[in-house]
Amino acid sequence: MLEIRDLHVSIGGKEILKGIDLVVKEGEVHALMGHNGAGKSTLSNVIVGHPAYEVTQGSITFNGHDLLAMKPEERAHEGIFLSFQQPVEIPGVSMVNFMRAALNAKRKYLGLEPLAAGDFLKLMREKRKIVELDNKLTNRSVNEGFSGGERKRNEIFQMAMLEPTLSILDETDSGLDVDALRVVGEGFNKLRTPQTSAIVITHYQRLLDYIRPDVVHVLIDGRIVRTGGPELAMEIEQRGFDWLKPDS
């Protein structure tokens, strides 16, 4: 599904990723762990096409397509979704209009007719329940006046609306209390199918108690230094990251 080969990425002339190889197969959940500044968010931003990052070497393909040649919106239409670490407020753009624009753009890309207004609102209602998102929030402007937890739930709500095949959760657990973490984790699990994959970026084990990874990677200084099963995450919880540093 997603295939990253020898990926080197710079921002402002500084190399952040120094040769990443990563293959995510259909149905798999990969956890990506590491210190702040290791390059986790850079990797997720490059996958979704953030214009600030420069790919200097390597390739990313998604279902056989050259992802790096696509615009961010095309990557979204192909089924890639990023749950942002810090979802931005967009005053004046209502959640309803935003989601309608996003969903209908995807349908157009797939050669489908736009969803009728009634069907769309029905879909909004259904998907809202998955993350227990209040009606009042979806009637507001995008993320405006949302608490940290509400923003993260809103990310998962949008994921539910857009039904991506590859979801990247970038520190979706940061700033969440225990209850919100449960809602987000369980919401995510309800959306999983044998065809959907995910990359979960986190510092901690706690989100992985809900979202069980098949593969765990540790990223240090722009390189994947260790890959293992779920037990690797447990070990990191015990011992931290330092023992994994190449020179230790």
Partner: protein, 444 residues
């Protein structure tokens, strides 16, 4: 010749206006309130003036549909510079009372009312728009023969919004000078929408002077919506005087224009009065939109709110100069002024100048302005969700202007404006280019 097609109450001011204009000339950029617009250049072409008051050859009631249809059953037209009658010409001179209007309310030709009921016009006409202070006032007062007169007597509420449509239609370059005089007596209420259109793309120059007297406890909601051709030049001066406990909302939306310079002066002359000034400009190409406002707090306990927003693209030029004056003794004044602007292209230019002058010591006032581009983080967030870049830009621009439109309390107009602004950003509002005898505006 001007006099014969007008009325004594209007003619009485012409000579003085001529003197005032001769003394001032066209304002240069050294005149503070005209520093952002080259007036002389706008007046340079050879415009015709319809001195004889000849009627335009089409009946706008039949040929024209405004972009804001169904707002009002009380629709009136000003064709070039004359109030347009639906009734056949000749014979009929009496002031029409349309069945939809409450007893005593007058909406009619200014010249006709000035002729038949001079006591309603003479005490007000030219009282706010002094020709000695502004060259455009002087020019307009010198040349204006007609326009619209609106009178709402004591404690009378006009239940439905009134709509006045200005249309410019000619076969040669034309200068039109029109007036509007609004008198709300004590406790009166009026909602008014004025739409400004050109029907073809000749060089037009329109001067307009609006004077609104808002009596004690009266409520005025007055909105202007401009949708004209790039070949249009508009100089509009609006004056409002607010008596005690009155509330006025004055809106000025420029959806498309050529060169537009609007002056809006509000005097809060009665205690506990409140004014809301709102404005939005959407300009691209070589359009030029200049709003110049003054809010004069003369007495204590008054409130003013001002919000103007501009979205400029291509080589458009926007200007906003808003002065709030709190005079000595105007204690407990509350005033807020905001001007926010989006330059969507590096070649677009915005001049902004908020001014706050306070001569009282117990007031609450704020003013500020911003000029910026679209928020990149928001743009990327939307694209990540699959919203195409163009659409995302449009949604952000639309949201930006939406804040102004939401301040309009005329429901039908607010809803319609949301629609029109979106169409405008989508480029589907062809700058009124489709207007004409055969193509109706509302059907584009």
């Amino acid at each position: 010749m001007l006099d014969t097609h007008s009325a004594p109450a209007l003619n009485a001011l012409r000579t003085q206006a001529f003197e005032d204009f001769r003394r001032q000339g066209f304002p240069s950029r050294k005149v503070e309130r005209y520093r952002y617009t080259d007036v002389a250049a706008a007046f340079a072409p050879d415009y015709g003036v319809n001195l004889r008051g000849l009627s335009i050859p089409v009946n706008p009631y039949e040929a024209f549909r405004c972009d804001v249809p169904n707002l009002s059953t009380s629709l009136y037209f000003v064709a070039n510079d004359r109030f347009y009658d639906t009734m056949p010409r000749g014979g009929e001179t009496s002031i029409k009372k349309r069945p939809a209007l409450p007893e005593g309310v007058i909406i009619d030709s200014l010249a006709r009312v000035a002729l038949e009921r001079p006591e309603l016009v003479a005490p007000y006409y030219g009282r706010l728009a002094r020709s000695s202070k502004d060259a455009i006032n002087a020019l307009n007062t010198m040349l204006a023969q007609d326009g619209v007169f609106i009178y709402v007597p004591r404690h009378t509420v006009v239940p439905r919004p009134i709509q006045v449509v200005n249309i410019l239609r000619a076969d040669v370059p034309l200068m039109a000078n029109r007036r509007m005089l609004i008198v709300l007596e004590e406790g009166a209420q009026l909602q008014l929408l004025v739409c400004d259109h050109t029907m073809d793309d000749h060089d037009f120059l329109a001067t307009q002077v609006v004077e609104a007297f808002v009596g004690e406890d009266a409520h005025l909601e007055f909105h202007e919506l401009e949708e004209t051709h790039p070949t249009n030049h508009r100089f509009s001066n609006t004056y409002a005087d607010l008596s005690a406990h009155s509330v006025a909302t004055l809106g000025c939306i420029t959806l498309s224009c050529g060169l537009t310079r609007n002056r809006t002066d509000v005097t809060l002359s009665g205690e506990d009065s409140e004014v809301n000034l709102i404005g939005a400009v959407v300009a691209d190409g070589n359009q030029h939109a200049d709003n110049n406002t003054l809010i004069d707090h003369r007495v204590p306990n008054c409130r003013s709110n001002e919000l103007y927003k501009y979205v400029l693209d291509d080589s458009a030029v926007g200007a906003f100069a808003g002065r709030v004056l709190v005079r000595e003794g105007a204690q407990k004044t509350s005033s807020r002024e905001t001007n926010a602007n989006l330059c969507a292209a590096p070649t677009a230019r915005m001049y902004t100048q908020p001014m706050l002058e306070i001569y009282a010591d117990d007031v609450k006032c704020s003013h500020g302005s911003t000029v910026g581009q679209l928020n990149d983080a928001a743009l990327f967030y939307m694209r990540q969700r699959g919203v195409p870049e163009d659409e995302a830009r449009l949604l952000l621009k639309f949201a930006f202007v939406g804040e102004v439109i939401d301040g309009i309390r005329l429901d039908a107009l607010r809803d319609r404006l949301h629609y029109l602004v979106e169409k405008r950003f989508r480029g589907e509002l062809g700058r009124c280019a489709g207007c004409g005898e055969n193509v109706k505006c509302g059907e584009r």
